[in-house]
């Protein structure tokens, strides 16, 4: 297991685990953290993402007690896999713009992602990409008019082509085996799915999650693929209310209160 984490917030408070997406880092939560750290003990994962989604879910080793798991994009799948493998560690799931089937991934249909996966040509393309080109490639992760923050360009660059391609393929492997809706059906954990109305990478679902009684779907109008950056207040509020509802729900279970000092 190669997963580190940013540890933040208030020791002893209920735990939230934040899981970043493709070619990203814990810094994707930079705007959300200050808004939740007084009421939560935060574990913001830093994944290696060099293998499968399931391998990344081993980040569960950093949890001592049940937590609200928040995953962004690919991280939403890691969060789901974590709940599949360690249900006892998950009190609720909050999935931000998760790809929910292979077909839902609009970016997979772009030529860039396909060419990058070709050995030789992909390496060449990755190597010669100018800073401007890299920034343009990141633009689809945000709504129109949002300037791509430098750290997102740097984080993606730091990953390297091989890691980028592998972690992309891991998404297709995971969703190819079972779609997200199918997987959530088997989970009993309360789940909130959030999509961006202007998301250029993941399509908003139509009725795919309608059958799930323990899951709600919400679409944020005017927001692109990265709500934690584009609408941090909304995301912080959702995390806060999820935290409060799960602490209320589990208040009668003494083990859940034993949120260990990290």
């Amino acid at each position: 297991m190669n997963a580190g984490a940013l540890i933040a917030g208030t020791p002893g408070a209920p735990t939230v685990m934040l899981i970043h997406g493709l070619a990203s880092s814990y810094r994707v939560w930079d705007r959300v953290l200050p808004k939740i750290e007084t009421e939560a003990n935060v574990v913001a994962a830093q994944l290696e993402s060099d293998h499968s989604i399931e391998r990344d879910a081993d980040v569960a080793a950093l949890l001592r007690s049940p937590a609200v798991i928040v995953g962004h994009s690919r991280g939403g799948l890691v969060a789901t896999a974590l709940a599949e493998r360690h249900p006892e560690l998950v009190s609720a799931l909050l999935l931000l713009c998760p790809p929910w089937s292979q077909a839902s991934r609009m970016s997979a249909r772009t030529p860039i992602e396909r060419v990058l996966a070709v050995p030789g040509v992909g390496e060449l393309m990755w190597a010669v990409a100018s800073p401007k080109r890299q920034r343009v490639a990141q633009q689809s992760a945000f709504g129109p008019g949002v300037t791509v923050p430098d750290q997102f360009v740097a984080d993606a660059r730091a990953r390297g082509r091989r890691n980028f391609v592998r972690s992309t393929q891991a998404i297709d492997t995971y969703l190819g085996a079972r779609t997200l809706a199918d997987r959530l059906t088997s989970l009993q954990v309360p789940t909130e799915l959030v999509f961006g109305g202007l998301d250029a990478r993941v399509a908003s679902p139509a009725r795919e999650f309608a059958e799930l009684r323990h899951a709600t779907v919400r679409v944020l109008p005017g927001v692109g693929h990265t709500p934690s950056w584009e609408a941090p207040d909304v995301v912080a509020d959702m995390i806060g209310s999820t935290l409060r509802s799960t602490t209320l729900a589990t208040a009668t279970e003494p083990r859940a209160r034993r949120a260990g000092r990290r």
Binding site: M1, N2, A3, G4, A5, L6, I7, A8, G9, T10, P11, S25, Y26, R27, L33, P34, E37, T38, V42, Q46, L47, E48, D58, A61, L62, R261
Partner: protein, 517 residues
């Protein structure tokens, strides 16, 4: 007492000493404890990486670590000095291939001067306790000169710092003089005295031949014989020294050549069958130096060459054959007022007992008084099996680094190379924390376990674990907790970058954040 905030780094002059009970606690960004090779290399590397606010705390009155303390007659290094020295401070003045203690001590003092470390040094300042304060996110140090705080702490206290004197019954009854080789009593004249030496390790093989001709009688108590090889020491001529001074490139080439010649030898430590050849050489060395077959028989180890530390000496074995020397292998039952009784009941008269018994190696200094995030001491967390990520950092102990930590020691080449790798990791960790405005970093439990697994895997089948001996490299369970069983190049590669996926990164707590802004 005002808890200092880390961001407004109170750059205090370290020589402004605090008195016990003083209201002001001195804060530094980094506290380095110990000023031997490990402490000095850390200081130099940190300053180079842009961390000038460090203090070096030294329990003694001068820098130098083991090369200050081990000043017994004949003390010298067992690795060629052109290699056993800092990469950033080549010394063209070495008088021998293997420098003697006075030269090494002078070298370390000189490096402290030329690298301008004196202003950062607090001498006679033993650290008694360290505690991580989770609220203030810093280390609280108790020293004999009062309390201090530091954001990061480097324990450079050495793996061979505290002398080990075995608990032999009757030691307190002895009416003569007794001391440990690392605390040599120079004002005591050994000439004409009956001397008992306990232990035959790396120190004893150096001081036994150095004192043998002066003393009336020497009784050497040997528990286990070790393999001894020729030293091939040579004086470095004035011409060579002048060449090194004028053209440093030659010395760098010599250093590289020594490094390569030694580095590949790790292959033999990992494939004990290859030790047959050097073992045969050691056997010939013994035969050439000791003619008495009965004495020779006592000096043949029953384990594979390399399992215990290989001793290098051109004089030790020969000195044991001299008329005034007795080698006894019958153990020690007890010490009396006038000598020692072995297990056969024979009494050996002695005026002085010298302990060549090595050092406390089962526990690194201060680790029993270093308290981490959950309030437990490092020694308590470790038990008998110390482990660390890259031999340097430990989960649960934020911003703490151990120079010469677990699995940093070497059997085949200069440990200074390892120290420089460790110092690089420390500088990278501090750099990452600074660049990302983090309060603290520590390895994840998984990262620490993975490194330990690597050590285990690399150590499988090596001469240290399969050579048929017990040594201080192994803990009570036979696990290697001291030796890095890979190449130094592999270790250098591992310490080249700071990998956030292997660490817990602690953000500043909100209250401190507000206080700092």
């Amino acid at each position: 007492m005002a808890a200092p905030t880390r961001r407004s780094t109170t750059t205090t002059q370290p020589h402004e000493l605090t008195e016990p009970g003083s209201a002001i606690t001195v804060h530094n960004h980094v506290a380095i404890i110990g000023t031997g090779f490990g402490g000095i290399v850390t200081a130099v590397r940190l300053r180079q990486a842009g961390f000038p606010d460090f203090v070096m705390l030294e329990r003694a009155g001068e820098v130098g670590g083991v090369w200050r303390d081990n000043d017994y007659p004949g003390a010298a290094v067992d690795v060629q000095s052109n290699l056993y020295s800092f990469s950033f401070a080549p010394n063209p003045h070495w008088h021998n291939t293997y420098a003697t203690q006075p030269e090494l001590f002078a070298y370390l003092k000189d490096v402290a001067d030329t690298q301008d470390l004196r202003a950062r040094l607090v001498l006679d300042c033993a650290v008694e306790r360290l505690e991580w304060d989770p609220a203030a996110q810093l280390w609280r140090l108790e020293t004999v000169r009062g309390p201090r705080t530091a954001t990061h702490v480097v324990l450079a206290t050495g793996a061979l710092a505290d002398p080990l004197i075995p608990a032999i019954p009757g030691l307190d009854r002895f009416e003569g003089v007794s001391f440990h080789s690392a605390r040599w009593q120079h004002d005591y004249d050994l000439a004409g005295k009956r001397v008992a030496v306990i232990g035959t390790g790396s120190s004893a093989v150096q001081f036994v031949p150095a004192i043998q001709s002066d003393v009336a009688h020497l009784t050497v108590f040997q528990r286990t014989p070790a393999w001894v090889v020729r030293r091939h020491d040579r004086p470095v001529g004035s011409l060579s020294r002048a060449l090194y001074r004028r053209f440093p490139m030659f010395q760098r080439l010599e250093r590289l050549s020594l490094y390569l010649r030694r580095e590949w030898q790790v292959v033999a430590f990992r494939n004990p069958a290859l030790m047959t050849l050097p073992q045969r050489g050691a056997r010939r060395h013994l035969e050439a130096q000791v003619s008495d077959p009965r004495l020779r028989a006592k000096l043949v180890p029953d384990f594979r060459f390399g399992c215990k530390r290989v001793l290098i000496s051109d004089e030790y074995l020969r000195s044991l054959g001299q008329h005034n020397v007795t080698l006894t292998t019958d153990g020690i039952r007890e010490i009396t007022a006038t000598g020692l009784i072995d297990h056969t009941g024979t009494h050996h008269q002695a005026d002085v007992i010298i302990f060549g018994t090595g050092f406390q190696t089962s526990r690194l200094p201060l680790t029993d008084r270093t308290y981490g995030r959950d309030g437990r001491s490092l020694a308590a967390v470790w038990g008998s099996s110390p482990t660390a990520y890259l031999g340097t950092s430990v989960t649960g102990f934020p911003n703490l680094y151990l120079m010469h930590g677990p699995n940093i020691g070497l059997g085949h080449t200069s440990v200074i190379h390892m120290f420089e790798s460790q110092a690089n990791y420390i500088a990278r960790a501090l750099g990452y924390a600074r660049d990302h405005d983090l309060a603290a970093v520590e390895p994840t439990p998984a990262a620490q376990q993975a490194f330990t697994d690597d050590v285990e895997r690399l150590g499988e089948g090596t001469v240290w674990t399969t050579g048929g001996c017990t040594s201080w490299y192994l803990n009570a369970d036979g696990r290697n907790t001291n030796i890095w069983p890979g190449t130094t190049l592999d270790f250098r590669r591992r310490t080249q970058q700071f990998d956030p996926t292997q660490h817990l990164l602690h953000r500043r707590t909100p209250a401190l954040e507000a206080a700092a802004s």
